[in-house]
Symmetry: C2
Subunit: 183 residues, 2 copies
Amino acid sequence: MDNLTEKFVKRENIYKGKVLDVVKDTVLLPNGKESAREFCIHVGAVCVLPLLDDGTVIMERQYRYAHGRVFFEIPAGKLNSPDEDRLEAAKRELKEETGAVAGKYTFLGGYDSTPAICNEKIDIYLAEDIKFEDRKLDEDEFLDVERVPLETLFQMVMNGEIRDGKTQVAILKTYELKKFTQK
Amino acid sequence: MDNLTEKFVKRENIYKGKVLDVVKDTVLLPNGKESAREFCIHVGAVCVLPLLDDGTVIMERQYRYAHGRVFFEIPAGKLNSPDEDRLEAAKRELKEETGAVAGKYTFLGGYDSTPAICNEKIDIYLAEDIKFEDRKLDEDEFLDVERVPLETLFQMVMNGEIRDGKTQVAILKTYELKKFTQK
């Protein structure tokens, strides 16, 4: 892939924030010319599709300020550190946001959200054999939860009613895996 | 949804870049407390899954510097301006990157890549009835194209071999739409 690879020359640190850093790197293009690559550095995240025995999924409504509207999405959260165990992070976020504790986790694959401008990597899990304990939201975290049939969610994704990327992938993959086994 | 909405108080402009701007807004949370929301402002983008009559898809290999690796993804590109017609942008990007011109476009839905940190919206199109003309890459744009059966791509998504989010959604939706009609 040497005909495609871009090589690091130098970095300008633009911003060091709470949830993202921004850098502007000078790179060498495959043709030997210099160019700039500005992008966000993100710690990484996890998301969980919690599928109950009755075929419903625990979904969340959460205000996403960057879009100025309430999103309909699966439970998710960022890692506490880049080397945090991702399955442990998934268990933590699911418990905090919904109160659910799952007996079985299946890794559904990774999700790179927007590779042209951000290095964010999200691991997607399917959670099953779910029991409920107490929900424990972070202070200043606001979200509503509700249960929706997987079949309904699949139709909402196909109709374009669910726009969140990670949620679309998680629903489409889970539906594909489960469509012949769910009642 | 008033129990979830966050209200704008003031903005700090952090960075004005070529492909993204970064801002840090002070907001009022639903509980009346102030908090900060830092995020990227992006012009928006389009992506196209070009499906040929023989059931293959035109895929691209492109180096994504933020991840430091070559990505396997469908043709895509950002809008020239926020109010650019998205279908026209899709036609332009497909032609420039692959030389393909499609007789039929189907809108597959929107994709919000990472709503917690960026307002990027991507429109996803399926392109069919494809003819080839000359490819015309932007200067300093490097990518390889190849044709891969939709069935193979679907398996690669399910196996976690394709991580790009918009590409996963486009492949899963197209496969769902076409699986009973493709040979």
